[in-house]
């Protein structure tokens, strides 16, 4: 993808020289070849390090809420990120006029764990070209198929193209199949009650409460999270069964109508805990009951914020 990176660099250069934006949020090269890291470009010299490829794991919308509202931000967005940005605009976390979204149609994010499983820990080089990915492991080049390495939530992605982007780099991709998400949920729902709970328990109880999922999530921007509250203590903050279960249930529920299924939480989890089966269910319910999909525009309020008297008939006496 070097051409795309060059085009992106040219674009960002232009934005910074014309002073359209104060800062651009994008990715830069890191010491480890598999882990490009989020970077904040304010001057042209730093742009040397700019990087964009399938390994960019973070959801950059996460950093939007950390700037004052009058900062003009340029942000590189893929499909899910653009929808997170839209959701944040709806929640008045940053005014739209102070944002410049550089959209990139996303071919999917690669799962580092899947790469490491196929080769080994110490990958020293990485390059990609279309459907082919090649990594250097122990001096030898290993060629892999991109489709084998996609992250689970990217396999289910329905909107790879950025929504409401100011500029689009590259050709738009065809929309994904929305029924794939439904399949995974149906598969889980088909299990009986005890199996579902056993699965949930097995996943939730590996949690070490590092809150990496919370830090990676663009929608988790509360200054004080309910689990950090000491008086009153809403729920156990340790790794007890009750504590981890409550964390997973309430964290997911706080995302109802706000989650864009970017999967950043799962990618951030050091314990490889599955979480998207919870948020996907909530997203699917929001779509079925309220016909609402997160971040498809920047003015529709999420269902829990836009209740009205139309719900009258749903009160069962």
């Amino acid at each position: 993808m070097p051409e795309l990176t060059t085009e992106l660099r040219k674009n960002i250069e232009q934005l910074l020289t014309d002073q359209v934006v104060d800062v651009v949020i994008a990715f830069k090269k890191a010491d480890a070849p598999l882990r490009p890291q989020p970077a904040f470009f304010r001057n042209l010299e730093e742009l040397e390090d700019l990087e964009y490829n399938g390994l960019c794991q973070n959801n950059l919308a996460n950093y939007l809420t950390r700037y004052p509202h009058d900062t003009k931000i340029g942000i590189v967005v893929r499909g899910c990120e653009s929808r997170s940005v839209n959701a944040l605009i709806v929640e008045k976390q940053h005014p739209r006029e102070n944002l410049y979204m550089i959209g990139i149609p996303c071919q999917g994010i690669l799962d580092i764990r899947k790469i490491i499983k196929k080769t080994g820990e110490d990958v020293t080089g990485y390059s990609e070209d279309g459907d082919q990915v090649s990594v250097v492991y122990e001096g030898k080049e290993v060629n892999l198929q991109r489709s084998d390495l996609l992250h689970d939530s990217c396999l289910r992605c329905a909107h790879p193209n950025p929504v409401n982007a100011d500029v689009l780099l590259g050709e738009p991709l065809p929309d994904g199949d929305p029924t794939i998400v439904r399949l995974a949920i149906e598969e889980f729902e088909a299990l009986d009650r005890d199996e579902r709970y056993a699965w949930f328990q097995k996943e939730a109880e590996r949690c070490i409460r590092c809150y990496a999922c919370r830090e990676a999530c663009p929608m988790c921007y509360c200054t004080e999270c309910f689990v950090d509250h000491a008086t009153p203590r809403w729920t156990e903050s340790d790794i007890s069964q009750a504590g981890t279960q409550a964390w997973h249930i309430i964290r997911a529920f706080h995302q109802a109508g706000r989650c864009t299924s970017c999967g950043a939480c799962e990618r951030a989890c050091p314990m490889d805990i599955k979480m998207t089966y919870l948020t996907d269910k909530l997203n699917n319910d929001m779509l079925e009951v309220y016909q609402f999909e997160t971040g498809m525009d920047d003015n529709t309020q999420p269902p829990f914020a836009s209740f009205n008297l139309d719900d009258k008939n749903r009160f069962v006496i």
Binding site: I249, F253, A256, F304, V316
Partner: protein, 146 residues
Amino acid sequence: METRPKIALFQCKWCLYSQPDQNWVDNDLPSSMYLVKLPCTGRINPLYILNAAQGGADGIVISGCLPEKCHYKEGNLSALRQHEEFLNFLDYIGYERSRVRFVWLDLQDRGRIQKELADFEAEIAKLGKAKVLATRTNVSPGGQYA
């Protein structure tokens, strides 16, 4: 010895229009029922419902006002959206949906809360003790917030 199922009652303080009913809920609730009185059903955070389930409540009753009767205009509308979805979600991960009941009360529903509670208690007794999500281990009392 057979014990009665534990029931947590989340009550909106405006929903019982008749004073005798409110007195009964305030003073004469059976010891197996635990009253949480709130300003409005909209004040119920889903976390409270989860806390009740985790703390060992076998059943949960939420009583509130009908639409257009809310003291705060639309607290119950927000509550309905959130709690319905929250219960669907709990059901998805294995909690029985039938362990939670909504009771929306109207002006003429004098004496209904007693009937509803008795009815619900009988239903929960059939279901037995809650196993799913009842995971909280009680710490020994000590300190102000224990």
